[in-house]
């Protein structure tokens, strides 16, 4: 945990590699995880606390996410969090498979990385279509 001497050379990192789906999905897993544990946790706990707090507290929650600016914040955060969740879920399942030692062949690894993004976008669209047409 010593302070890093900035004069020392550092190992090659993101800037020297050609970006591929596996790199993108790897960093997305981290970004989506941090996003859900900060923004996602805040919204979920606010919602639960508002239900427990009573009608007034719930009205405030609804005002911020449903009524304010035509529900713009609700749509941005709602769709953002569902896409974030489905991406983290899909790449998480991919990680569990890779934990067994499977799926490291170049082509299969790339296909699985692409598949997580296709799955997350598809599930997000289906989820919101279901909500919309319900």
């Amino acid at each position: 945990m010593a302070l890093r001497n900035s004069a020392r050379p550092i190992s090659p990192h993101l800037q020297v590699y050609k970006w591929g789906p596996h790199m993108l999905v790897s960093i997305l897993h981290r970004v989506t995880g941090v996003g859900m544990s900060t923004v996602g946790a805040t919204v979920l706990v606010w919602w639960l606390a508002a239900i427990a707090g009573g009608e007034g507290a719930y009205a405030t929650f609804r005002h911020v996410f449903v009524e304010w600016a035509g529900g713009a914040l609700g749509y941005v955060i709602g769709i953002g969090l569902t896409l974030t969740f489905f991406q983290h879920m899909a790449s998480g399942i991919r990680h569990l498979v890779m934990d067994t030692g499977a799926g490291f062949e170049l082509k299969r690894n790339k296909m699985a990385a692409l598949a997580t993004m296709i799955v997350s976008v598809t599930l997000t669209v289906l989820f919101w279509l279901y909500l919309g047409f319900k």
Binding site: R30, T42, A49, R62
Partner: protein, 128 residues
Amino acid sequence: MGTGTSIGRVRGLGSAKEGAHGWLHHRMTAGSNFLLMTWFMISIARLPAYDFVTVRSWLSSGWVALPMVLLILSVFSHFRMGLQTVIEDYQHDESRIVMLVLRNVWAYGLGAIAIFSILKVAFTGAAV
């Protein structure tokens, strides 16, 4: 693998011998998150409306309150470990300790509010 020199043993050098436990717990909670979040997303999507009365009576049922408490426990302990990984990767000086403590305050604090809220609704019923 040897046990190192005697002075190394006294200083507690080597692995913390807790890595496998944390690694496994992260995977176990990934599995329980998958089950509980699948239930949560379907249950939320199938609610007839999202007004106060509907949502409150939904959460007051034991069939919802119990899995919700389990979901909070599983998801929050999973993201607490995930944030630890991220903090340990990017914070190299004293700020690492500060961030790790703040992460505990965040995860346990929010988790406590969430569980208290669920139980309050479950124990006081649909009416306010």
